[in-house]
């Protein structure tokens, strides 16, 4: 009897390791499928050959894969991992299952930045019309979003130094989100139709607009944010018990909070800047992984959430492309359509277990 807990945890650990390997294999498989699927048919065999540097049968295929599909797939992987991990960080920091990467108001700040860019181009009139800007237009949107997210981040950090309770911070973040949303609404109210269109398209979210050049910014920032999160697995575990307990175990709660906010802002900010505000991955993936791996241990959860987040982003982008048709769905709609049933299923399953136990 005395050793059951120990054996059980060892059993669980073996189970978890196998599951982790399974998720990694799934991720690699999805990556290849994602690259293979598109308006031009390319056999999976050639996809793998191009990805492993062996070259494809047709040169055009190589170009399509390397110039368009690979950056898009990489963006999906980075963005999915980033949003899911920052969602996990926020849920643990605030001990709130409804927290997501955007609770701090990061995406609201980014939206405001983008709206300002849209309005600025409207004010300048026909001199620089957003529609005519092409890639430069995408870049100015990304820049506006980055600056907006960064501004919110700085405010949140300044506030978090003064405020002692996490709950206060959460409420302030929410209020800040409302204020920036109304500012965005006012800006849009005075904007011309084409610019509103440009803004709305940005809010749909997309992995397709990111070029290799932009990936050179996106990838290092996401990797830095992920590294920061991986270095915080122990504080995250302590925070499961709440700030008071974490502090009593020797954790510098303020410093940990600052690190987690920093990591989340980097991850959510940069992804929002380049891909738009993509919802639901951040809230759904941590729940999915807790249920799948049956643990709250962040040493397991952080890598698991990284891989599952990347996988689900690939799946969502695949579905959004509606393979076999020419239509493309807004990415944001797909993530919610896929994510909501998952969360509902998990919640109901937990309730059921709770009742029968």
């Amino acid at each position: 009897m005395a050793s059951t807990g120990h054996d059980e945890s060892r059993l669980r650990k073996g189970h978890r390791d196998a599951l982790g390997v399974g998720v990694l294999v799934l991720l690699l498989g999805l990556f290849c499928v994602h690259v293979a699927v598109g308006s031009v048919y390319i056999p999976l065999r050639d996809v793998v050959r191009v990805l492993t540097g062996q070259g494809a049968d047709k040169e055009a295929w190589e170009t399509i894969i390397l110039m368009f599909r690979l950056p898009r797939a990489l963006t999906a992987v980075l963005a999915g991992a980033a949003l899911a991990v920052s969602g996990l960080q926020m849920q643990t920091l605030f001990r709130n299952p409804l927290a997501d990467p955007y609770v701090l108001g990061i995406n609201a700040g980014a939206s405001l930045g983008v709206a300002l860019v849209v309005l600025a181009s409207g004010v300048l009139g026909q001199v620089v019309s957003l529609a005519n800007l092409g890639t430069t237009g995408d870049l100015s949107i990304a820049l506006g979003a980055s600056l907006g997210a960064a501004a919110v981040f700085l405010i949140v950090v300044a506030v978090s130094r003064k405020v002692s309770g996490n709950m206060t911070l959460l409420i302030l973040g929410l209020m800040f989100g409302y204020v920036t949303s109304s500012a965005v609404t006012i800006l849009l109210h005075f904007a011309v139709r084409e610019h509103i269109q440009a803004f709305v398209v940005w809010t749909f979210g997309s992995f397709s607009g990111v070029t290799w050049g932009q990936l050179r910014v996106l990838a290092p920032v996401v990797l830095a944010g992920l590294a920061l999160c991986f270095s915080y697995v122990k504080p995250l575990n302590a925070l499961l018990l709440g700030e008071a307990y974490a502090g009593s175990m020797g954790l510098n709660v303020r410093r940990a909070r600052l690190g987690l906010i920093g990591s989340t802002s980097l991850l959510a900010g940069v992804v929002t800047a380049f891909c738009g505000p993509i919802g639901f991955l951040g809230i759904a993936v941590p729940h999915l992984c807790r249920s799948l791996f049956a643990t709250s241990d962040h040493r397991v959860l952080v890598p698991a959430v990284t891989m599952v987040g990347a996988s689900l982003a690939l799946v969502a982008d695949l579905v959004a492309q509606l393979p076999g048709s020419d239509a493309i769905l807004p990415l944001n709609a797909v993530t919610s359509l896929l994510g909501a049933p998952v969360v509902i299923w998990i919640v109901l399953r937990q309730r059921g277990a709770g009742v029968s136990a």
Binding site: T4, E8, N237, A238, L241, G242, S248, L251, R290, S296
Partner: protein, 370 residues
Amino acid sequence: MTGGDRALETALPSPGGESRATAPILRAAGLGIGYRRSRRPAKVVAEGLNVGVAPAQFVCLVGPNGAGKSTLIRTLTGVQVPLAGKVFLNGRDVHRMAARELAQQVSVVLTERMAATALSVHALVALGRFPYTGWSGRLRSEDEAVVRWALGAVGALDLAGRDVSELSDGEQQKVMIARALAQEPRLMVLDEPTAFLDLPRRVELMHLLRRLARDTGASFLLSTHDLDLALRTADRIWLLPAGGPLQDGVPEDLVLSDAFERTFANEGVSFDKTSGAFRVHGATGGPIGLIGGGVHAFWAQRALEREGYRVLVGADDLAMSVTVTADGDPFGWRLMVGDGVSQVYDGSTLEGLVACLAALEQEMKTSADR
């Protein structure tokens, strides 16, 4: 003694005869607790506190709500900065110690409940090793051994694989104590650990804590509203009346010196020295004699007091008296009126006795009105 100044030198010798250092683990010197406020004078909750906790000692902190029990606990554990004075842990200033170092010597059990899902009991207790593990929190084999020991010490080994959210209140509290034990503290501080528990679990928990203090040699300080349990189990009691000063002593001394009575005097209840229990104010009824002893007399007294009578034990010359009838089997109570002249009730339930008294009161009231 009640001033607490000499408490440190008179720390209890440990039971079992083996000599333990009587130097206190925790010592507060000239401590003032409260809150600093901007642009206003600080709000002082209590001041001039001089107390200490010796190794293996089990100390209960009691006092009315709002007297500052939580503030005192927060200050002693280094969470809150004192307004004056210092707190020493093994001779070192708590408020100058590094957080990790402090966490290796002091652990806490708080009132907040665990809401985390998918957290196993083993994982929760393992978090107690936080101040000892490296950056990733990975447990070494010696950490694992401490976790097993802590689970065993509270009798929760069989819970190790369970999810924390599935536990009952009593089980969860035990597990939180195991987590605090896994920190291998010299001092464990518990904030109202019995608050959510039913009576049997409360008694069990208090005895568990007392046993842990003896077994581990660590000091235990807990705040509680369970005065009766505290009186029965604590080595010492810290009595914190609203507005201070803190009184520190062996439970029985505090009772005999009326410190308990004074502390809780304004709470609408009064502490009864003879029974060691609280009594609700407002004995509105007249005096009633109670003749007899043992458990039946005790519960008869409770019932009569609840009805508002002033019970005088052994008085047989009053207008009304209740006698415990030992001659019959089962036991019974007999109610006599008019200096033992007429017998009004002779039965075996207190319900009957009380009903009879109520009828009698009604009768006397109507005749007086007429």
